[in-house]
């Protein structure tokens, strides 16, 4: 026994082993938590970062040759082939990758040479050909996949879906003033014929075919005629709403849906030299300004119901635009600058997707309809192609945070509208109303929860009898265990309609409650001491509860009479009539009550622990110096517990910011920026819950939702860090207390 003082039994060894295991496991657990949080953060960042990626252009395929003046030069929808229809009516397809001709056939045009051809509809395989005779012919190109020996091979099939006979247009087309629009099953042709008549020199024709189906002949169309004073130079239509007549010196917007009136809804005067292009969506015109800006102008309905052209924020250009070209399928515009340089711009954000060196203003561009490939056919016929990666190019700081004037809207605004019905829908991703809604919900909830939770924490911890505290505290904490979906459900289906009915009563109750409580406390102090001392100290709350409930009940009963006397009609009508404040059933008041109720137990519990944790000897020290209980509370207990109380508030705030179910159910989820207490909001968390399941993976929408998740994470992280810093200072100041 000389070598060791303490012989080790098996038990000691086991204990040592457990100690060592714990010493390893505990840091591992800590690092595990850190790693999990970092991993969540990195994942959110990883899903968000592609939003910041700059657009890139890569040369693609082999150089080729095409006729830059051919009636049709375009790309197929995937961007694999360059499609060309030459003046003799021969259709040629060249593979962009190899430059080889993979298809060549003379179209059956009945011998008439084509004047111009164009794709019908924003995507699809239908093409229209305007013949020199003024008749219109249609052909379709399809790329069915054929399996031979297990290998998929794309083939090319040319067809004439409406038959081989050209469509003769009544009245005849003047020049190439013809325009087509195809949506679902309706094909509309708009064209201008020159006539001599008492009402003018030209006629606008609308020829509409219903129940159009590829492979079946066109049914007889409906034909509308509108006399025009003069023939416009061009017609343009890319959306449901507008048919634009371009006279060179002015643009006229006509209702495209066969309006009875033969009048333009809005007119914009222009210099004839202004380059112009109608953007995808068919509402916004991009106009080149001589000073190097691109105007974005669209018809907007004003307060009187009249339409006029309005300009959204212009895009800046390094030089004046010489020519503008519209791009299919995307809100993009191809700008040829004064120096001859070409740029493909995202028209919503102004981002440059493609920049090509000067090779003259002539020639043309061909795009596929996904916006991923561009071919440039120079004036001399040389063809070069690029692949563009610009998935999220329409986003910008301006779009996410500032007021944006979206086409068709009466004024710039913060709008979140991530999906719409049509293919030409423009997604609107303003985070400002969501951020505002998040903060509004959290702050209103804190406004309700803070006085309630801190007041009850102070009372329970400091004044209440231990016996009462023993069951009050767990009861309140039990509320925190209640699933928030139940609170949300109750709030939405029971509380919201109730408050809608008794708005005035609720409001005066909320306002009167603090005063009532103070008043009752004061009255209590006036009671004879003999009576007061019969209530055990700390049980006053129970005794005072009865008169408080009575007073509230009386207030509720008096409220309707008071309401009708003061406001003559209902308070809600008065609010609307006098202040223009509208009332929604799901509003910030309900959110404050329900969410506030949900976070109260959390704040209460932590704050109560902090106050209980202040050592009695400090209170006794103050009392021994002649302080009252109230003095000691204010001057000693609350400062000493301040770090814990701050934690309680920050954790409550964190819960309020991140809470999802309640806000999902009681806010109404209206993404409007409204500070009103009587209107709802949409929060980041509810927005993610609503939209993420529907968002296409890796789409801009999907990544913007991840961005909001990242913001939510950052908000709570920053708030907690700030609270931790303040808490650290408070702890330092109040030393090694508790």
């Amino acid at each position: 026994m000389a070598h060791t003082m303490m012989p080790k039994g098996g038990r000691d060894r086991r204990r040592q082993g457990l100690d060592r295991l714990a010493a390893r496991l505990i840091p591992l657990g800590g690092f595990g938590v850190l790693a999990a949080i970092s991993a969540i953060f990195l994942y959110l960042l990883w899903a968000t970062l592609p939003l910041l990626r700059e657009a890139s252009q890569t040369p693609f395929g082999a150089p080729g040759v095409a006729q830059s003046a051919a009636p049709l030069v375009t790309l197929d929808s995937r961007g694999d082939h360059l499609i060309q229809l030459d003046g003799a009516g021969r259709l040629t397809l060249k593979a962009l990758a190899s430059g080889e001709t993979v298809f060549s056939e003379a179209l059956a045009l009945g011998g008439a040479p084509p004047r111009r051809a164009w794709p019908v509809g924003e995507s699809g395989h239908l093409y229209a050909v305007l013949l020199e005779t003024g008749a219109v012919h249609f052909f379709a190109l399809e790329f069915p996949v054929r399996f031979s020996d297990g290998i998929a091979e794309r083939t090319i099939r040319l067809s004439y879906p409406f038959g081989r006979l050209p469509l003769v247009l009544p009245g005849g087309v003047s020049g190439d003033r013809l325009q087509s629009f195809w949506e679902e099953t309706q094909l509309t042709l708009a064209y201008v014929s020159e006539t001599e008549g008492p009402q003018g020199t030209a006629t606008l024709h609308l020829l509409a075919f219903d129940e159009v189906e590829l492979g079946l002949p066109l049914l007889p169309g409906r034909h509308y005629r509108y006399p025009l004073a003069a023939a416009p130079e061009r017609l343009a239509r890319r959306g449901q709403q507008w048919l634009f007549l371009d006279y060179g010196d002015r643009l006229e917007a006509w209702f495209a849906r066969f309006a009875d009136s033969a009048e333009p809804a809005a007119t914009l005067a222009l210099s004839p030299a202004t380059p112009r292009a109608l953007l995808f969506g068919g509402q916004t015109w991009i106009l080149g300004d001589s000073d190097g800006a691109l105007r974005r102008t669209f018809p907007v309905r004003d307060g009187a119901g009249q339409f006029r052209f309005e300009d959204a924020r212009p895009l800046a250009l390094p030089a004046a635009a010489q020519a503008l070209r519209a791009v299919p399928g995307q809100r993009r515009v191809l700008v040829t600058l004064a120096g001859g340089e070409h740029r493909l711009l995202e028209a919503t954000s102004g981002a440059t997707l493609l920049a090509l060196a000067a090779d003259g203003p002539q020639g043309r561009f061909a795009f596929n309809d996904r916006g991923t490939r561009v071919a440039r056919i120079a004036a001399d016929g040389a063809v070069r192609a690029w692949e563009i990666e610009a998935r999220h190019a329409e986003l910008s700081f301006h779009r996410l945070w500032e007021r944006v004037w979206y086409e068709g809207y009466p004024a710039p605004d913060f709008i979140w509208q991530s999906s719409g019905s049509g293919a030409d829908f423009e997604a609107k991703f303003s985070l400002t109303p969501l951020l505002f809604g998040t903060l509004k919900a959290a702050l209103v909830a804190m406004l309700f929860a803070t006085p309630l939770a801190l007041g009850s924490a102070i009372y329970t911890a400091y004044f209440m009898t231990p016996g009462l505290r023993g069951w009050i505290k767990p009861s309140i904490e039990l509320i925190a265990a209640m699933p928030t979906v139940i609170l949300g459900f109750l709030g939405a289906l029971w509380l919201a309609p109730l408050i809608e009915q008794h708005l005035f009563g609720t409001l005066i109750t909320l306002l009167a409650l603090p005063g009532l409580m103070l008043g009752l406390g004061w009255l209590w102090g006036l009671l004879p001491p003999a009576l007061r001392h019969r209530v055990p100290p700390g049980a006053h709350a129970l005794v005072l509860m009865l008169p408080l409930a009575g007073a509230l009940f009386a207030l509720q009963s008096l409220a309707p009479a008071l309401e009708s006397r003061v406001f003559e009609q209902s308070f809600r009508l008065w609010l609307d009539a006098r202040w223009g404040i509208s009332f929604e059933q799901r509003n910030a008041l309900i959110v404050g009550l329900v969410l506030g109720f949900a976070i109260t137990p959390t704040i209460f519990s932590i704050a109560e622990d902090a106050i209980v944790g202040v050592p009695d000897r400090l209170v006794h020290g103050a009392l021994a110096l002649g302080a009252s209980r109230w003095d000691a509370l204010k001057q000693i207990v609350l400062p000493a517990a301040s770090a814990g109380i701050l934690s309680a508030l920050m954790i409550g705030l964190g819960r309020a910011v991140g809470e999802t179910m309640i806000v999902l159910m009681v806010t109404g989820n209206t993404p409007y920026l409204s500070p009103s207490l009587f209107e709802g909001m949409r929060t980041f968390s509810a927005n993610i819950a609503i939209e993420l399941p529907e968002a296409e993976v890796n789409s801009t929408h999907y990544r913007v939702l991840f961005l909001t998740a990242l913001l939510l994470f950052a908000m709570t992280f920053l708030a907690n860090t700030a609270a931790e810093v303040v808490r650290g200072r408070l702890r330092k100041r109040y030393g090694a207390l508790a």
Partner: protein, 262 residues
């Protein structure tokens, strides 16, 4: 025990007069019919084993016992002839007259200066120069001034345990109470700090009536003029300190001071 004579003092020299004081907690007696008089401007020590009621007696003087639930007090205590147990007595005023220092140093989590000024401010003193003068006086009286005069704005929690206890004494005497109650003031301190506190008690006795509760008989012998020995809630013996330690009258006193129990 009735045969053990207790001391009485001339009314002019009496600070506290306790008559038939009984205190019980939830029906359990902690003090039984204790009667004694505490002299003015002297140091009186209460000794006795744990649970003998000496702290209860001390806390009856500034009615800190009121804070304990289920406490019942009968009998009388007079401070310079005034009944302090009467229900109409404002305890906050009473406690300003009877200061108290606790076993554990309990400086408030604020600066040294604010600690000492706390009681003064409670009394409504807000003039900064007057506060500074009073704080300096209190700290000098508590023999702490030289150690803290350059760090008055530092947190009181940065002081050592002994300094904290003298700070608490300074805080108590800053409001110039008539009586100072010390509840085992040195039991949580190291020997050097204890010595300083004991010296301080000796100095303060010139201006205050001091009552010390202590476990430590040597301490009682060193600092006090009079000593009361309590046992099981009863006052066994109260006499001049020298007498009590050299010629104990009661058997229990003798057993206790010779270390047979406690």
């Amino acid at each position: 025990m009735t045969d053990i004579p207790t001391l009485t003092f001339d009314p002019a020299d009496t600070c506290l007069n306790v008559e038939q004081l009984s205190v019980s907690y939830d029906g359990k007696a902690a003090l039984r019919e204790v009667s004694l008089t505490v002299p003015r401007h002297r140091v009186t020590a209460f000794i006795g084993p744990s649970g003998c009621g000496k702290s209860t007696l001390l806390r009856s003087f500034n009615r800190m016992n009121d804070l304990i639930r289920g406490v019942e007090v009968t009998g009388h205590i007079q401070l310079f002839g005034e009944d302090i147990l009467a229900p109409e007595v404002d305890v906050t005023v009473l406690r300003r007259r009877i200061g108290m220092v606790f076993q554990q140093p309990n400086p408030f989590p604020m600066s040294v200066f604010d600690n000492v000024a706390y009681g003064l401010r409670l009394q409504g003193l807000s003039d900064q120069r007057a506060l500074e003068r009073e704080v300096e006086w209190a700290l000098r009286s508590a023999a702490l001034w030289d150690e803290v005069k350059d760090r008055l704005e530092a947190s009181a929690l940065t002081l050592s345990g002994g300094q904290q206890q003298r700070l608490v004494i300074a805080r108590a005497i800053a409001i110039r109470p008539e009586v100072l109650l010390l509840d085992e003031p040195a039991s949580a301190l190291d020997p050097i700090s204890t010595l300083k506190i004991e010296e301080l008690i000796g100095q303060l006795a010139e201006a205050y009536s001091i009552i010390v509760v202590t476990h430590n008989m040597q301490q009682a012998a060193r600092v006090s003029d009079y000593t009361a020995f309590l046992y099981l809630g009863e006052l066994v013996e109260f006499s001049a300190t020298d007498d009590l330690f050299t010629r104990p009258q009661a058997r229990q006193t003798e057993d206790y001071i010779t270390g047979r129990y406690g």
